[in-house]
């Protein structure tokens, strides 16, 4: 249907590119190639989903946040509490986690999204800190500082048990990530997604073309919270543990670092940055258990100096230097 020329090119932008299959092929190959690393692999897959949720708000809507862990933790604690109190069915636990996180995103977003920039950044931090303290205080329910004990996660569909080798966990995380990625990809290519990019690029002009900017920001903030909640629930269910670190500032900060390493606002930054960071962390901490954070830091500095826009930004620049594709 789309014609030739500029209109055709523009109308075909949402079509799948062969390169988009690469992350999934790598993930499937990884399952067979590194059977002893599947528990780490499952963590990586679930964390990619977390980074994807951050990319949606930061990279697309331009909402700078340091409170993404609030939603991650809300999802994890919801799924964890259900599993610890007699409802270990994983899929409904995951959906409940996402829904609880979305609700917190919606309610906090209604208040804090009235602001922008640094004020908003501070407020996202405040929301996460408040939730952290609330969970810490309610130790009768959450276990407080000790973390939530006694989760019993049932087999998926009553059949696939979570095994010691992480095979079920890996496949479960991979399928959930794939579903969420598909939905997110649709979203960013929809008119709604494009208008988010408009808001990121020039919020003043979006107002002037009659866009309901506040509502759009609230919607995407809520969706992103749901994705972060699903990610937290996945990690809670596959590791059988939830603790206060799930809600900490560290977690919000680290996910941004991973996303920035990969590249912000490109949908695939999460797929590159998260494995890179987590595998480097795993390797460095084995090779040099004392100073491994130094090496992570050095990697970050090098990336920021030599690869603005992350790995994907670097790749784009190389590609344009090697000549235009068309």
């Amino acid at each position: 249907m789309p014609g030739p020329g500029a209109v055709g090119v523009f109308a075909r932008r949402h079509r799948y590119h062969p390169l988009e299959a690469v992350p999934w092929l790598v993930a499937v190959a990884g399952y067979f190639a590194f059977p002893s690393y599947l528990p780490l692999g499952a963590q990586i897959l679930a964390t990619i989903l977390f980074a994807l949720s951050a990319d949606l708000v930061l990279g697309y809507a331009g909402i700078v946040t340091l409170g993404q862990a609030a939603f991650f933790g809300a999802g994890a604690y919801t799924a964890g509490l259900l599993a610890a109190h007699g409802w270990g069915e994983p899929i409904s636990g995951l959906l409940s986690g996402a829904a609880a996180a979305a609700l917190i995103g919606l309610l906090s977003g209604l208040v804090i999204l009235r602001t922008t920039g640094l004020t908003l950044l501070m407020l996202t931090l405040v929301v996460a800190s408040m939730l952290y303290e609330a969970v810490n205080k309610a130790s009768w329910l959450t276990g407080g500082d000790d973390g939530l004990q006694g989760m019993q996660v049932w087999p998926i569909f009553g059949w696939f048990r979570f095994d010691l080798f992480g095979r079920t966990a890996y496949c479960y995380c991979l399928i959930m990530l794939c579903l969420c990625w598909f939905a997110t990809r649709r979203l960013v290519h929809s008119p709604f997604g494009r208008s988010l990019v408009g808001i990121r690029e020039n919020i003043l002009r979006m107002h002037a073309i009659g866009a309901p900017v506040a509502r759009r920001r609230l919607v995407v903030y809520t969706i992103s919270a749901a994705l972060a909640g699903a990610s937290g629930a996945l990690i809670a269910q596959t590791t059988g543990f939830v603790g206060l670190t799930f809600l900490g500032l560290d977690r919000s900060g680290t996910v941004l670092i991973m996303l920035i390493i990969g590249g912000v606002g490109r949908l695939y930054g999460a797929f590159i940055g998260v494995p890179l960071y987590m595998i480097a962390q795993d390797r460095f901490s084995t090779i040099d258990p004392v100073y491994w954070y130094f090496w992570i830091g050095l990697l970050m500095v090098l990336l920021v100096v030599f690869a603005r826009g992350g790995v994907l930004g670097l790749a784009e620049r190389l590609q344009s230097r090697l000549g235009p594709r068309r």
Partner: protein, 251 residues
Amino acid sequence: MSAPALETCGLHKSFGALTVANAVEFRLERGARHALIGPNGAGKTTFVNLVTGALRPGAGQIRLEGADITHLPQAARVKRGLVRTFQISALFRRLSVLENVTLAVCERKGRSGELLRPAGRHGAVIEEAFALLERLGLADEALSPVSTLAYGRQRLVEIAIALGLSPKVLLLDEPAAGVPAHESGTIIDVIEGLPPEIALLIIEHDMDLVFRLARQITVLVQGSVLVEGPPEAIAADARVRQVYLGERVSV
């Protein structure tokens, strides 16, 4: 029977002790080619911000085709056909020219809230945006990021976005600001070629442009209307000469 396209009654705004709009009475007829001029700091851009809803007036009323829009939010005014451009280009700089205009067209058609169907499948929206680019001579640059365009071309994109919203009233805030003389001709041609049913209000410093385009001129000084009339009368008006020449000599 037909109310003016845009009308303000006793429009007032002050920032602390500084009055930037003082009981402004203004009428923009349907299909007008009207210019708003005045020395720096006269309150021209403030007037635009009040009319479009970016600022709340302290007192007074704004009517669009007879309907009171004083308390409507900015987006609702745009939906009714009250559209502006910006003196300092407000574009989506990293997006392509076509995408800039598509965002506006899509918003006008009420499609921008849609989550499921890819934007690329909204063929009618893209076709309309592209047709607009062809009309303004921007078709060759459709896929270039706006930031790579020459400044004069960017000013055209500024107008193209506004036209994508199908305005009834179009407020052009210094459309040729900062554009070198050899490029401003294209912008004047584009403005001259706009559909006659659009009521135009041009805020401008460039007197060549004003006298070429405007059939009616309002002179604003320190937030108040000094005088209004056809170009010949304004050119001959002693007070206008004094404001423009007098200020430059005495300050």
